[in-house]
């Protein structure tokens, strides 16, 4: 593991490279005729390892700054970045790209990289007022079977 200042410089160089490549990709796709555009947009929930305010701010700004990816919102309590990607072949590919950037950022930001684990399963996020189940469990959840038992 390199010492801290070199990790920061390494991250900045890596990010500059990614930034230029993303610019080229987006520019090329805009100039392509509409029928041959490679665009496959998607909005994906990416589990994130950021903890502090500054880490959340920086990772979401850097994602948005890279053309072709855009942070729409974050959920701190679930540890999720909602990222809109322009060229997404599969969910796993965008998640891997974003998490690689986050790993490198956190390695550069933290003197000791420490805990980089993320929630592995995507938590179920629902609006607050729909969190409670619509009916009490067991009461009328399986009307067909109950009706069958009674008759």
């Amino acid at each position: 593991m390199m010492s801290w200042p070199f990790r920061i410089i390494g991250f900045l160089l890596w990010y500059a490279k990614e930034f230029l490549l993303a610019n080229l990709a987006v520019t090329a796709d805009v100039l392509r005729p509409r029928r041959r555009m490679k665009m496959r947009p998607a909005i994906v929930a990416v589990p994130a390892a950021s903890r502090t305010d500054s880490e959340w701010t920086l990772i979401s700004s850097l994602i948005t700054l890279t053309p072709g990816t855009l942070t729409i919102t974050i959920s701190r309590e679930h540890g999720i970045l909602y990222v809109h990607g322009m060229f997404v072949e599969s969910r796993a590919q965008l998640v891997a790209d974003i998490q690689e950037m986050e790993d490198r950022l956190l390695n550069a930001m933290r003197r000791e990289p420490g805990d980089l684990t993320r929630p592995t399963e995507r938590p179920v996020v629902r609006p607050l007022d729909e969190a409670a189940p619509p009916f009490a469990p067991g009461a009328a959840q399986h009307p067909p079977t109950e009706a069958g038992e009674r008759s």
């Binding site: 987006v26 994906v44 053309p67 990816t69 855009l70 007022d129």
Partner: protein, 118 residues
């Protein structure tokens, strides 16, 4: 050719590169189908376009003070354009600007209230 001429030519090259990037992203504004893709495409002009014009101007009129000004201008521009794009995208999603139909995954729609879902 003297060094100063080469630097001047390089400055002009960067400025025209920036202008080209901005023109392409303006074309993108017309061609792309929805708010989020457009916000992504404008990112190229707000980031690379403006940065390379500032860099070109710096090369054409180089001094220590101008270097400091250019670095501050580029960093401030990159940070504010990113925050602005996020604010626009978030406001759009909260106001039911639905993504275009070619969007093949939308995991954010799971968090919507069912009355808003379409």
């Amino acid at each position: 050719m003297e060094l100063i001429d080469i630097v001047q030519a390089l400055g002009l090259l960067f400025i025209f590169l920036g202008i080209g990037t901005i023109i392409v992203s303006a074309i993108g504004l017309f061609k792309l189908p929805d708010l989020y893709l457009r916000a992504s495409a404008v990112g190229t002009s707000a980031g690379l376009g403006v940065a390379s014009i500032v860099l070109g101007a710096l090369l054409m009129d180089f001094s220590g003070l101008n270097l400091l000004k250019a670095v501050i201008a580029i960093i401030a521009q990159l940070l504010t354009s990113a925050v602005g794009s996020m604010a626009i995208a978030r406001a759009g999603y909260l106001n039911n600007a639905l993504p275009a139909e070619i969007t093949h995954i939308d995991e954010l729609s799971l968090t919507r209230r069912s009355s808003d879902r379409s």
